[in-house]
């Protein structure tokens, strides 16, 4: 064939010789932004990270990513007050992703499937004492064990779990779930000594030859208040009531039980009483919206027939009855007495006014600072005495299981560093993936999946778990509602929308790269990235 006509006819695809990248004044760059859920998680879970695997149905991988931060997902999926969901960007679109329910699904799935933690191949030769087998202690033990340290837990009580067992009723956390997750930690080679109260930390460490200690004894001593009371009055504290629920001898509270307080513990006690056939009345000095208990718990309690007297204080407790005074809120929202009184039948009064810490084991340890009844710790969770770290309810913090688990993780990292003679520096936080950074158009409309609730009769009469779990289908659905804020989920948008084919798709799991030879810097990829994982950076011209 004769040669093709000069200039008029061109070879295909030859424009590659024209590097249009030189036109650019700003370049797009990929970045990971911090998803608000991760940011809000007290346990520091990589929520978006594990949801990513759950979305593809790889639940084991999702669970494994999850337990890198938190060894108790089945517990967490039940008792965590999920601040992650409050922060979830999807809440601004329709409703927050049911992170907690997916977490529970993964935790339950792990128990069902018998997934185990990987035992580290090499030991460090160091020994760490953990005092207290509550969430914080278990968490620390788990993380330390994973790092290769020899861990021994000394627990004063008869069973592991701490407040998870003795503070949270069964209907919220079935004990077999708790047992399974505790056992999985022990399977890592962690030694658990029950009924072993550490009287002196100094002594225990020396006796056991421990290189470091993590104290997580919790707060078990119910706070008392001064209520003028007759001899016949029956006043007990909430922690004792809940703890005795775990033993053989159930508490004797009578039929009419007044629970004094407005926190989650008060609700737990009232609902427990209801299940035992009693008639609980919660007395709280402020209003419902001022109550520290979570509103959904109040709502569930009310559904179950728990009575609540708002704006009331107990003035006097006598035999079979109490006197309450009505309160009103002042301008600043504080309750003030009104002088109006009322008498209520009460076989017993349960005080749910918070807990104090038993710090006796620290007696004689030099350098410790105790303030407001709790041990002060440095940012690395170490007390004033080198090698002794502390966390959970015994240090200044919000007293939740999740916070405690987070303390355990954090302390473990610092203990590990301390044992190695180094400092642990946590990675700098990425910038936050705010809703404004997203392009929500690309997400399908999908409302949150509602978890099944136990029927009301059984909720009032049994300790069966109230909140059901998700099955696989709706757990998957829920996982897939995740917007993957700030983190590429390989939706191919940047790859597709580039008018200049300047995005290179690297293949599954490998993400994308910009081809700056051709990228003209139009910014469409940034505008159309659903999850805000690209930003424009000015070129240095």
């Amino acid at each position: 064939m004769p040669s093709k006509p000069f200039a008029i006819t061109l070879k295909p695809g030859t424009s590659l010789a024209n590097l249009t990248g030189t036109w650019r004044t700003a370049r797009p760059v990929y970045l990971d932004r911090l998803p608000p859920c991760n940011n809000a998680c007290p346990a520091g879970e990589n929520i978006q990270g594990w949801l990513f695997h759950a979305e593809s149905g790889d639940y084991e991988q999702a669970w494994r990513v999850l337990v890198q931060d938190n060894p108790l997902p089945a517990v967490m999926g039940r008792v965590c007050y999920h601040p992650c969901e409050g922060a979830c960007n999807r809440g601004q679109l329709d409703s927050a992703v049911g992170i907690n329910s997916v977490e529970r699904f993964l935790g339950d799935e792990a128990i069902k499937r018998g997934w185990k933690f990987e035992v580290p191949a090499h030991g460090s030769g160091k020994k760490v004492l953990v005092v207290g087998a509550g969430p914080s202690g278990l968490s620390a033990a788990y993380h330390l064990a994973c790092m290769g340290h020899k861990v021994e837990i000394h627990e004063a009580g008869p069973l592991a779990g701490g407040m998870m067992r003795f503070g949270i009723p069964k209907y919220r956390l079935p004990r077999d779930v708790l047992d399974a997750e505790v056992q999985r930690i022990l399977d890592l080679g962690v030694t658990l000594k029950l009924n072993t109260k550490v009287a002196s930390i100094d002594l225990s460490m020396r006796q056991g030859g421990f290189d470091a200690a993590f104290l997580a004894v919790g707060a078990h001593i119910g706070k008392r208040t001064t209520i003028p009371a007759g001899d016949a009055s029956h006043i007990v504290d909430a922690v004792s009531v809940l703890r005795s629920m775990e033993g053989e001898d159930k508490p004797m509270l009578g039929r009419k039980v007044v629970v004094y307080g407005g926190g989650n513990t008060a609700i737990d006690v009232a609902r427990t009483v209801k299940r035992m056939g009693g008639e609980p009345i919660i007395v709280y000095r402020r209003t419902r919206d001022k109550a520290p208990a979570h509103d959904f718990e109040i709502e569930e309690a009310l559904q179950e027939g728990v009575m609540i007297k708002w704006l009331s204080t107990i003035k006097q407790a006598g035999a079979g009855e109490i006197t309450v005074e009505k309160m009103e809120l002042d301008d600043k929202g504080f309750p003030q007495p009104t002088g109006e009184f009322e008498t209520l039948a009460a076989d017993s009064v349960v005080l749910a006014l918070g807990q104090d810490v038993d710090l006796s084991l620290l007696d004689g340890v030099p350098g410790l600072e105790v303030k407001d009844g709790v041990v002060q710790v440095a940012p690395n969770m170490m007390t004033g005495f080198p090698g002794i770290f502390a966390g959970g309810d015994m240090v200044p913090s919000q007293r939740t299981v999740t916070v405690a688990v987070g303390h355990g993780k954090k302390a473990a990292r610092h203990i590990d560093a301390w044992l190695n003679g180094t400092n642990y520096e946590s990675a700098a936080k990425h910038e936050l993936a705010e809703f404004e950074k997203l392009n929500p158009w690309y997400y399908s409309d999908a409302d949150k999946t509602v978890r099944p609730m136990l029927d009301i009769i059984r909720r009032q009469t049994s300790f069966d778990e109230v909140q059901g779990g998700l099955d696989e289908t709706n757990a998957l659905f829920e996982a897939r509602r995740c917007l993957s804020c700030g983190n590429c989920f390989e939706c191919d948008n940047c790859y597709g929308v580039c008018p200049d084919n300047a995005v290179i798709k690297l293949g599954p799991g490998k993400g994308f790269e910009f081809n700056y030879d051709y990228c003209k810097g139009c910014g469409i990829c940034v505008a159309e990235c659903p999850c805000g994982a690209i930003k424009m950076v000015a070129e240095d011209i």
């Binding site: 295909p12 979305e55 690309y442 939706c491 790859y495 597709g496 139009c522 910014g523 505008a527």
Partner: protein, 333 residues
């Protein structure tokens, strides 16, 4: 919906790809090995909607024809930015003849293939709105009327952009162009009767007519691929914002296209043999102002010397589209 919605996934069917979709449900553009019918190095402006729309469409047509595709191209931006001597961006056999004859050139190619018995080779003609709705209209209508085996794709950016943003018969009322300046008592383009070429195409009774936007890739690909499975004259008009001509930010190209559809200004539908068979519903209806305001070509309608009555007339056009095509979900229920 113009396609069966895929099983729910994180991003449904809106993103280009989705790692969770089965391979046969994935878009052509999501494919790591996609053809890139228009190669990198083309000279389109930053954020060019036409470059994007053309790659979307031709890549899809290439896949559906198993690579047996020939494209004819009208004079215009697409032609100029893709084939300045000595470099071509096209990876498909491609010809540019004139501004107004693309449909006829494509007819000729199709006739040649038929005469040669090469029935597997398919033909696409493409041009901008000027080359389609104005100067190429005669050839287009002839191609429709004979039902020649050509898919004609019009990349509608509502004006003559190649020559410096002049008005075409696809330019919307009130828009500023170089020949409809925002001066005098009725600034911008006239409120004419419009020229709805998709409907004119439908009036020819051809097998397939569709509209699409670069904001909805999956719908666009579905339509191109469906059209490619059919024979006879087919017409697809793709809405492609022009950052330069419309005075929009280069990163807003897709957003503007989305707003055009969501406001009802650009109805997205398909029709077979002259009858509308489906419309793409508005998902989040927006007032016309939301579509107009990011565009400098409508800037004279807002601000100090605003023309609210003109905005209202434009809203009325959008409302008429919504009524006529049943673009809102409840209206057709």
């Amino acid at each position: 919906m113009s396609f069966q919605p895929v099983k729910f996934y994180q991003t449904g069917t809106y993103t280009v790809g989705n790692r969770l979709l089965a391979p046969d449900e994935r878009s052509v553009q999501a494919n790591q090995m996609r053809g890139n019918s228009i190669n990198s190095g083309h000279r389109a402006c930053q954020g060019c909607g036409e470059a994007l729309g053309a790659r979307y469409a031709i890549d899809a047509a290439m896949v559906e024809s198993n690579g047996q595709l020939i494209a004819a191209n009208a004079t215009g931006c697409l032609e100029v930015f893709s084939t300045p001597y000595p470099e071509s961006s096209w990876q498909v056999p491609w010809i540019h003849s004139l501004f107004g004859n693309t449909a006829a050139v494509a007819t000729g190619i199709a006739a040649a293939m038929k005469a040669k018995g090469r029935h597997e080779v398919r033909v696409v003609a493409q041009g901008g709105d000027g080359g389609t709705t104005d100067i190429g209209f005669g050839c287009l209508s002839g191609m429709f009327e004979r039902n020649d085996d050509v898919l004609y794709i019009c990349y509608d950016n509502e004006g003559y952009m190649n020559t410096g943003v002049q008005r075409s018969s696809a330019t919307p009322p009130a828009a500023r162009t170089a020949t409809t300046m925002p001066v005098g008592p009725e600034p911008g383009n006239v409120f004419g009767q419009g020229k709805n070429v998709p409907e004119i195409a439908m009036a020819h009774g051809i097998p397939y007519v569709a509209t699409a936007t670069v904001a909805d890739l999956r719908d666009l690909e579905y339509k191109v691929r469906k059209a490619m499975r059919m024979h006879g004259a087919r017409y697809i008009q793709i809405f492609v914002p022009c950052p330069l001509g419309w005075g929009t930010a280069s990163h807003d190209t897709i957003r503007i296209a989305r707003l055009a559809k969501e406001s009802g200004m650009f109805p997205v539908f398909e029709a077979e043999h002259g009858e509308v068979t489906s419309v793409l519903k508005i998902r989040n209806k927006v007032a016309i102002g939301e579509y107009l305001k990011p565009q400098k070509r409508f800037a004279h309608l807002f601000g100090k010397h605003a023309h609210p009555e003109t905005v209202a007339r434009l809203q009325a056009i959008a409302d008429r589209n919504i009524r006529k095509y049943g673009l809102l979900e409840e209206e057709t229920d």
